[in-house]
Symmetry: D2
Subunit: 387 residues, 4 copies
């Protein structure tokens, strides 16, 4: 069996999540190749060394350029701060590596486009960490839609609302500075776009509104710092399919902890999903026959749904956030060693960034904006994932 060596940049929240998944995936799934946690880069040699020990990597370096240049490395996992995603991913592609990059792909849509083109020209596997789309519940929803159980989709209402910056006394850190974060709530919570893209396809037009509610926050030294990006944003959207809907992001919505939700209504039924109850799909099928007496049903994740059985043979036992990353690692490995296309790749992530950029333009100009067709569309391919 082939063996792949992975180098990871970053050892924080997402670095740890990647490490957990890399160690767990081979036990959960039969993989077409082994993946070795080989080299860890971090902002300093000491931090990298400690991280490597903690996260089970063999080697470490204080310079990500060294990692990218290392000929032993097959895959570069990018878990560095957001403003480093672009330079690291670019350098990794130029060095001929496969790239597994956390979202957002870049802070600027132009850079995203460039990375997508570069990935295509280099022929390397790319995958962006929109892990929520890997939830077997979402897989089940996609299958139901593909089988036509909801009919033609008419409406989509999707949110990603949280309260991590609802407290004005909380420092925004890198998140509230344009140079380090790009967009605010929309940038952080653009998972909602991967979900709509997965289930309802590409977005053709948007009309958005945004607001920075808390204009200043304490910096590290306690002094007031200007907040440079939006706390909340929402948009009307029109999908290529003809469906219409709304999308909403907030980082100041008290009480919502991971309010990534989507409701789709079609000609034959509806479904609803809430990431805070990530093991449930709510499904309504229009009544057949005259009578009523039908309601939304709460379908619990079980071994009949894609990928669940590898974690547990019994239904209702529940997956967690980190399990989604395990599925992501499986998909990464199978894209490299098994010939199964991975989604969302850089082209798909760039398409999401096109939507974000169009939303911002729409807000600044006060009207509808057409979303430029993404790279995949240019090539005559759909923006949607393989079903």
């Amino acid at each position: 069996m082939a063996s792949l060596k992975l180098g990871m940049v970053g050892s924080g929240f997402m670095g740890k999540a990647h490490a957990m998944a890399l160690h767990t995936a081979p036990v959960v799934f039969p993989l077409s190749a082994a993946v070795r946690c080989d080299l860890l880069a971090d902002h300093s040699a000491a931090s990298a060394q400690a991280g490597a020990r903690r996260l089970g990597f063999s080697r470490s370096t204080g310079d990500w350029r060294e990692l990218v240049a290392d000929p032993a490395i097959d895959i570069v996992s990018v878990c560095a701060p957001n403003d480093l995603h672009y330079p690291i991913a670019r350098a990794a592609l130029l060095a001929g590596k496969h790239v597994f990059c956390e979202k957002p792909l870049a802070l600027d849509v132009g850079e995203s486009r460039e990375l997508a083109r570069l990935a295509r020209s280099k022929g390397r596997v790319t995958l962006v960490g929109f892990n929520y789309v890997r939830n077997p519940v979402i897989g089940m929803a996609a299958e139901l839609i593909a089988r036509g159980e909801l009919g033609a989709i008419h409406h989509v209402r999707a949110t990603h609302v949280e309260d991590y910056l609802a407290d004005p006394a909380r420092s925004g850190g890198w998140r509230t500075r344009r140079a380090t974060a790009g967009l605010g709530a929309l940038g952080d919570l653009c998972h909602v776009l991967s979900l709509t893209q997965r289930l309802a396809g590409g977005i053709a037009e948007v009309c958005a509104d945004m607001q920075t509610v808390i204009a200043q926050r304490p910096g590290a030294d306690g002094s007031a710092q200007a907040v440079e990006n939006e706390d909340q944003a929402h948009a009307l959207v029109r999908f290529s399919s003809g469906a219409i809907g709304t999308i909403e992001c907030s980082r100041i919505a008290w009480g919502r902890k991971n309010g990534l939700t989507i409701e789709l209504s079609g000609s034959e039924g509806s479904l609803y999903f809430d990431q805070e109850r990530q093991n449930e799909l709510w499904l309504y099928r229009r009544p057949r026959g005259g009578g009523g007496g039908e309601g939304f049903q709460r379908v619990l994740l079980g071994p009949d749904q894609p990928d669940y059985a590898a974690f547990c043979p019994a239904p209702g036992h529940g997956l967690g956030f980190n399990d989604l990353k395990v599925i992501e690692v499986r998909d990464l490995v199978e894209a490299i060693a098994g010939g199964v296309p991975a989604w969302p790749d850089f082209a798909a992530a760039a398409a999401i960034d096109e939507v974000l950029a169009a939303m911002e333009r729409s807000w600044r100009q006060g009207g509808w904006e057409v979303v430029p067709r993404g790279l995949e569309v240019e090539q005559g391919k759909a923006q949607e994932p393989e079903q």
Copy 2:
């Protein structure tokens, strides 16, 4: 105790609801005046006679003009088809009656404005049947907001989505014709605007999208008839208070039976309401002290909330749709005989119609529209109800 004589036009769904409430209210609440169900008008003498017997009225007539002109009548209740609301309400005001009118007040915002001005000049009590705002749960929400428990409101997400026309084989009847219904989903389900106005105040700007998904439906004779108004609509909204949000209406959302929901997020907390579970308020207060461990709480309606105890001294026993109408009748009587202003009166209903009209203009023109300030605002009064 004073005694008021009421004449009602119409004996269908809403006429029956009014009759139930009129007979029940005096037992539930101590009222400042007795209300007598005196005269019922319907489209024919026979129908009116049957309706009067069924609904407990003393007299009947096949001509609403006769009812409006009857000097014995103090209050005219308008439960006729929507396209008759304007002429009946206008004639009733001109005849010096108090008017209790079902929504919508009119099919055209100009007519609504005219009725609002007429009501003011005549000095009569008017009340429009946005009954959901009378839910004690909404009263509790309004009190929480008024006391500042949610702080400054930043965001509003409100929906009224149902599935009564989701089946394309179902005839639209009067609902899908412009002349008889005016707007489609938005017109039927504009309750959502009374709810946002009650809890978040007036709307200053809107940007809307609309869609007629099912273009043709079978008519009464089975032939295909064009659908002349929208099946679904949604809008970005900006409130006078500075809050922003989204509003959505649909009559084709499979599975949603009375999906009148509202979520408000403010600087100190959030709340959520769903009319399908009309006896519950979901409330989140930001944690005090450092720790977390707090979540949305599900507050069940009980005697501590406004108006509930008159129905039942024990908490959690639940009110239903028709009980809201009983509270509405109480408010009508107290406005006439007790000097307590009733809301939403014709001016408030006209303000809602201004929002609807602005939404339609926004959709046709493809951008943001300013909502003209309503009659009350012209007079230096807020659009909001008395707290």
Copy 3:
């Protein structure tokens, strides 16, 4: 149309509920007879006079014996304190009246048996106010069971738990004295038995445990008073059908306001009901075909379910507590004037009291107790209601 004159004893919580229902029922339902709210009796002439005015009765008296003896009265509604149910109901039957009695029928099973026998010998209509069984959701559940959609019922778990005496600083009043209340939580909350009897039939054997957790409470004068009946009780039960299960009552379960719940599991499916969400039935049908992907569905009350459409033609609009009483009044009238048997009559209520008495014996003796077969069973009739 026949006209029936009703005399009511009591003007408190339940008296008001009866009055509301009596005034509303003729508007909601076509009835086989008119019912006139004629005479109200209360503990004093003054109280009765005030009550009559408030509740819409024509006459009043300070002596219930006078009411029972009044030849104009056809129906006696018993809403007096619990310890008066037996003497009033007995006197009313002896006077040849139909009797509409609030639960409990009596404080002693011997008295209940006597009343059941008397009702039979007198041939009068009797109905006991177990209003929760009239919920159209329960009607729908009963129909599903009768049609075999759950198959053979194997298991029943039912609760009625509330927190109205959870606060030890709260006076128990008449509720905690044996002479005025009989049993404690079990007596108050024996609605749970009417629900199990309606959906799962009669109980053959019980094994119970009980506890008085708060031994003393402040009396009216602030002095400590002994609590003479149980705060919480639960039992293993064996149904005549072969199903087994548990039943539980509590008046000290913090947070539960009207926790009347029932879950039934059968060979073909399961259902769940919670009175705190009284407009929903949760229904699970075993998957047909191999696959899974099925869950409990939340069926909202709508016009397809029994009796709902009379209140509202649109689904999901919700009934409330007082609406159940309206259905009860309809059933009372139809039993008297329409020849439709009413359930639960005195015999059925006595059968419930047999279960309560067996539970108390079981607890005192520490083992299983057989429930004596009720009066209906003696007569070769089932304890169950007509389906």
Copy 4:
């Protein structure tokens, strides 16, 4: 850092779960010792070799006795069929190993007692895989109770109901044979007892009822086989603390997939947990001050709760079933290398088996049974875990 070598017997559902947790735990938690997945035993050499490769073990053997005797092995993980738990655990203890055993500890309470005594005399660390008690939500609940936020616990209602054998066409396999499974639903689902023990302490008396609803099932060859143990069981229980309650297990409850629930009511509040929504705790605190307006709150798991932050720094992201096993492995390692007592050890598991045995006796004899005091109680220690 110390290094521990682990040998595992079995490579099925639970073997895989152990392997996943063993590989993940060192990345999630800082551990006081490394654990090496060294030797895997299975029923045949071939199966063991395949399992070792799949689950990441270095060596394999077709004979568990060889594993137990191997001097290199420090810890024996017992994931073999239930009827082998006792002989393997016994042999491992006699060989001086630490033992990590899946539930049930044995099929007979006498054997459980023997293992508990042996563990004590050998001074080895033992841990039984009641993984649900490791849920941080349960940890939070235990802390709330320990801090007195619920006051004195009065009532406990706990269930573990599933539907894995609801279909009579499904073979029972080893689960329905006394010799291989011992008890039926109660044995499989005795997790419910670990949960009550963790949150409400030891059980002093029980009164149980049981039933085998489906008497025959198809065997492997299609012929009818007798079912030798119960499909459903429930019991009244009395806790040592004075609280009372009910416990229920079923394997034929259609629609319930992992219905492990517990509701506790105390003098100051209540809580509710449902494993199907394993990241939520429902908490009710009695209102302070006069007013009402309080309800159960839904607290989502977050970094304020024990152990969660090691998996994810952001609240509401959710743990899954397999994460609980990771916490279990951490506790095992810390018990061996860090001096932190692990619970439930063999003594605690034997105490659970005493309750099960008493339930069965109660059912056979038809009355209340005293639960013999467990080994820990004999030693003057409480049955409860360290808080």
